[in-house]
């Protein structure tokens, strides 16, 4: 590892830690300041003031928001993220279990998106005026602009009416496709553009003039050159996967981090909100770091720019 790369990595690590800390604290602070708390269900059930006060004291809600945040930070210093009032279990256990589920979904979605988006992008970029590009481009633009929630609902409807995909609990088809299709479309657009530019580069034009076969030009040379700019987008893609999973997991009942965050917000489960925010921020920071490192490895200019 070169000294430049080491400095770059240390900077990225510190920025990542700061990002995670700010996101978690912001989520906890905002949630504790919002009206209502985790005892609402008890209040709606008709609990008297004494019972409500006891429940608030038990959950630590009788303290000021600042004290609650301080207590959470103190707990975090020895890796204790508290107890979920909604689920009755340690936040760390819940978050870990659900992050694995989201990770499974996200990894599959990313693989699928890559497997569809990159080859299609190379094909459409190498023949910009071809029939395939004419069909794929508008579909990609439409998919990129569809929010994950709408996409998931549409796929559920399709699955329910046609039976092509299972709607049973734990079925991966609908949630994976709902997450993967917009990303595949985005990758296709980027790869297509990058391939077009690579094909127009002087070295490839010269190679074509020397009689190098078209498929070799496209799949060996243009594809290799065009992958570099596309790699840089993977950090954003990973972030998008986790934000998109919140809506997709809720609609498709996938037991992941996004649904856990939704449940935590609905129940005003403060430790769980903070835990989910922390975990999500860690995953996004890691995704960004991996993408930055990949870029830095293949392009030294990225290190100095950072």
């Amino acid at each position: 590892m070169t000294p430049g790369l080491a400095v770059f990595l240390v900077r990225r690590l510190l920025a990542g830690v700061l990002f995670v800390f700010v996101v978690s604290l912001s989520a906890l602070t905002l949630a504790s300041l919002s009206p209502g708390d985790a005892t609402a269900e008890l209040a709606i059930a008709g609990a008297d003031a004494e019972t409500l006060a006891a429940a608030r004291a038990r959950l630590g809600l009788d303290r000021s928001p600042a004290e609650q945040v301080a207590a959470w930070v103190a707990g975090l210093s020895h890796f204790d993220m508290g107890q979920s009032s909604r689920f009755g279990r340690p936040v760390s256990t819940l978050v870990f279990e659900r992050a694995l589920q989201t990770g499974r979904l996200a990894a599959l979605a990313l693989l699928l998106a890559t497997a569809i988006g990159l080859p299609l992008g190379i094909l459409t970029g190498s023949r910009p005026g071809g029939g395939l590009a004419g069909v794929v481009a508008p579909v990609s633009v439409a998919l990129v602009s569809v929010p994950p929630l709408v996409g998931a609902l549409g796929l559920l409807l399709l699955a329910a009416t046609t039976g092509w995909l299972s709607v049973a609990q734990g079925a991966l088809g609908v949630p994976t496709l709902a997450l993967a299709l917009p990303i595949a479309a985005m990758l296709e657009r980027l790869q297509s553009q990058a391939t077009r530019e690579a094909m127009a580069a002087p070295d490839l034009v010269a190679a074509a003039a020397r009689g190098v076969p078209a498929h070799r030009l496209v799949w060996r040379h243009a594809a290799r050159q065009s992958l570099r700019p596309v790699l840089g987008i993977y950090g954003l893609v990973i972030g998008g996967l986790f934000s998109g999973s919140l809506a997709v997991e809720f609609v498709t009942s996938w037991p992941g981090l996004g649904r856990l965050m939704y449940d935590a917000l609905v129940a005003r489960d403060l430790p769980l909100i903070a835990g989910c925010a922390l975990c999500g921020a860690v995953l996004i920071a890691l995704g960004n770091a991996v993408a930055d490192v990949m870029r830095a490895v293949v392009d030294p200019r990225a290190r100095s720019a950072s």
């Binding site: 609402a40 709606i44 008709g46 909604r86 009755g88 497997a115 559920l156 609990q169």
Partner: protein, 585 residues
């Protein structure tokens, strides 16, 4: 990158094919096309039910979560129960009982040979233990108040292993029905936790399922957070069917967690689930009825719901809402609103006809307790305008909308629950109806936590919301009817009644709760309802019908208007194997 991109593309294509095969394996079995068989019960098989939340624990003494109550119904048993289909008190662990001459002490004789799911015999010591835990201040049970009379605990004693005496601190109208819903817990399992002060944590979610011991028809065997809970037949369950065969009929029940109602319905339609957690929405009825006509589903009308939403006013003295708009707190204004809103329009447009018009908080779902001849103010815009004038509102500037005495527009807000389509649509209809008499209404939507928070701080003009009944007997409604109650929503938690009519309702309610003669109780409660209908601190518009949809293969169901509508009777449920396409899962 090393290697040929062409090879990478080939690999990616292989990956796509692989993933497609993986998805294909997710496909469900062919959708069922079963017909409801006759009610001849058969043993074996499993049913799948959906639920919109999951329990935070398995001990209903320390939780009011609806999901915890479902776990209780499946895994625990009470001394007696109120049959949710018939409303009758039924013997359960207590096979018979006798009251004392003054009606204050009941002697209950426990069934012989009853065992917990781990094989340990159930005795009166377990009953005494349960009440100890219930009333222990260190446990701080959220449900203890449900099992108190006049704010005082019942006194429980065990003269011998098969006998229990329960003494009420005061006469109590419903008698032993108070014990409905109180599970008898295993002293041999939870005793150490109570002694060490860890009772609340003993059966939290995540506790090994094997430690959750009960007397109910099923045992918890697995809880996968966010996914499902699996219950299997308790071979030690005490009850038998009419032929003397040991219940339950089913080998297992699986409770799958689907937080979203559309997803639940989809599960039902696809045949992946047999039972859903709640009544179906009016808009789902036509499509599900078509499926029922094809034989795949059963649709059952369980009756009128006891739960009706209502519009209540902020009548807390010195509330900010009424400081500058005193007309908001007048009876004339509330009566005007009641006359200005066309209840039938709400029944037809919001509930799509699946409701009945309602003029008080007690719906026909309460049976004998419902007063059919309550005053029913007609939908009369002219009379409503006259009442609004009486409240001090007139169209001073001739713009067609009313103003108060200071010339300020007569405007107020309705706070309701975001995401609850029935409540939001009703609020919209009310807004439109009131515009016709010159009132401007703003609708604010908030999630339940925010709504409760604003309610607690008095930061609202009016709220359109509803509460869930846990019982059909009005004695369970004290939190709403009594002026000191936390759900006396228009002015909760009064130290002493602040109006004469509230004092009278308190008196009537207390009398009906402590009167042993049921007919007299009905008369007293009816008088309270009439007084309520005159003062109208809360206006009710409609009570929904409870329509239950189930898979055609579900046998033995006796749908109830109370939640959970089907699983309350889990021991009697069975798989109608005679129906086509009814394999076990």
């Amino acid at each position: 990158m090393k290697g040929s991109p062409l090879k990478i593309v080939v690999l990616l294509l292989v990956l796509v094919v692989g993933i497609s095969v993986y998805f294909a394996s997710d496909r469900p079995a062919d959708s069922r096309n079963s017909l409801r068989s006759n009610e001849k019960a058969e043993f074996g098989g499993a049913l799948v039910a959906t639920y919109r939340s999951e329990p935070a624990g398995y001990n209903s003494l320390v939780s009011i979560q609806a999901a915890v109550d479902v776990v209780r119904l499946l895994t625990q048993e009470s001394l007696v129960r109120v049959n949710r289909a018939t409303g009758q008190l039924e013997p359960r662990l207590a096979g018979e009982w006798t009251p004392s001459a003054d009606g204050l002490t009941w002697t209950l004789h426990l069934r012989e040979g009853v065992r917990f799911s781990d094989g340990t015999p159930f005795t009166s010591a377990d009953v005494v233990f349960t009440f100890q835990a219930l009333y222990d201040p260190a446990v701080a049970s959220e449900v203890a108040g449900n099992f108190e009379v006049d704010g005082k605990a019942l006194v429980v004693a065990a003269p011998d292993a098969e006998t229990v005496t329960i003494t009420f601190p005061a006469p109590y109208g419903p008698g032993l029905a108070i014990l409905d819903g109180l599970p008898m817990l295993p002293a041999h399992v939870l005793g150490p936790a109570l002694a060490s002060g860890t009772f609340r944590d003993a059966w939290r979610a995540g506790t090994p399922a094997s430690s959750v011991v009960g007397l109910g028809p099923f045992m918890l065997v697995e809880h996968r957070s966010g996914e499902r809970l699996r219950f299997e037949r308790n071979d030690h369950f005490w009850n038998v069917d009419d032929d003397g065969q040991k219940l339950p009929y089913l080998d297992a029940i699986e409770l799958r967690v689907f937080p979203e109602q559309n997803a639940e319905i989809l599960q039902l339609e696809s045949g992946a689930a047999d039972i859903v957690s709640d009544a179906i929405r009016p808009e789902d009825i036509p499509a599900l009825t078509r499926r029922a006509e094809a034989g795949a589903l059963q649709i059952v009308n369980a009756g009128i719901s006891p739960d009706a939403d209502g519009l209540w006013f902020n009548l807390v003295p010195d509330a900010a809402a009424t400081a500058s708009r005193p007309w908001l707190a007048t009876t004339a204004f509330r009566r005007a609103l009641s006359m200005a809103v066309d209840r039938q329009a709400i029944v037809d447009t919001v509930y799509l006809g699946e409701a009945v018009a309602l003029f008080g908080p007690v719906t026909p779902g309460y049976g004998d307790w419902y007063v059919a001849d309550l005053p029913k103010p007609p939908h009369d815009l002219a009379a409503a305008r006259a009442l609004l004038a009486e409240a001090g509102l007139s169209d001073a500037d001739g713009d067609g909308m009313l103003d108060d005495a200071s010339g300020a527009p007569a405007r107020f807000s309705i706070l309701t629950q975001a995401g609850h389509t029935i409540r939001q649509r009703t609020a919209s209809v009310v807004q439109e109806e009131l515009r016709k008499v010159g009132l401007s209404v703003d609708i604010e939507s908030a999630d339940p936590q925010t709504l409760v928070g604003r309610f607690g701080r008095g930061q609202y003009d009016t709220i359109y919301f509803g509460f869930q009944a846990g019982t059909i007997d009005p004695v369970g409604l004290g939190a709403f009817w009594m002026s000191s109650g936390p759900l006396h929503v228009w002015n909760p938690g009064q130290a002493s009644p602040e109006t004469s009519w509230e004092a009278r309702i308190d008196d009537l309610f207390n009398q009906q709760a402590t009167t042993l003669d049921r007919a007299e109780r009905i008369r007293l409660f009816a008088e309270a309802q009439r007084l309520f209908a005159t003062e109208l601190p809360m206006i009710h518009f409609a009570a929904p019908r409870v329509t239950i949809a189930m898979n055609g293969r579900v046998g033995g169901a006796r749908p109830s208007v109370l939640l959970p509508p089907v699983l309350w009777n889990a021991e009697q449920l069975f798989v109608a194997t005679g129906a086509p396409g009814a394999p076990g899962r």
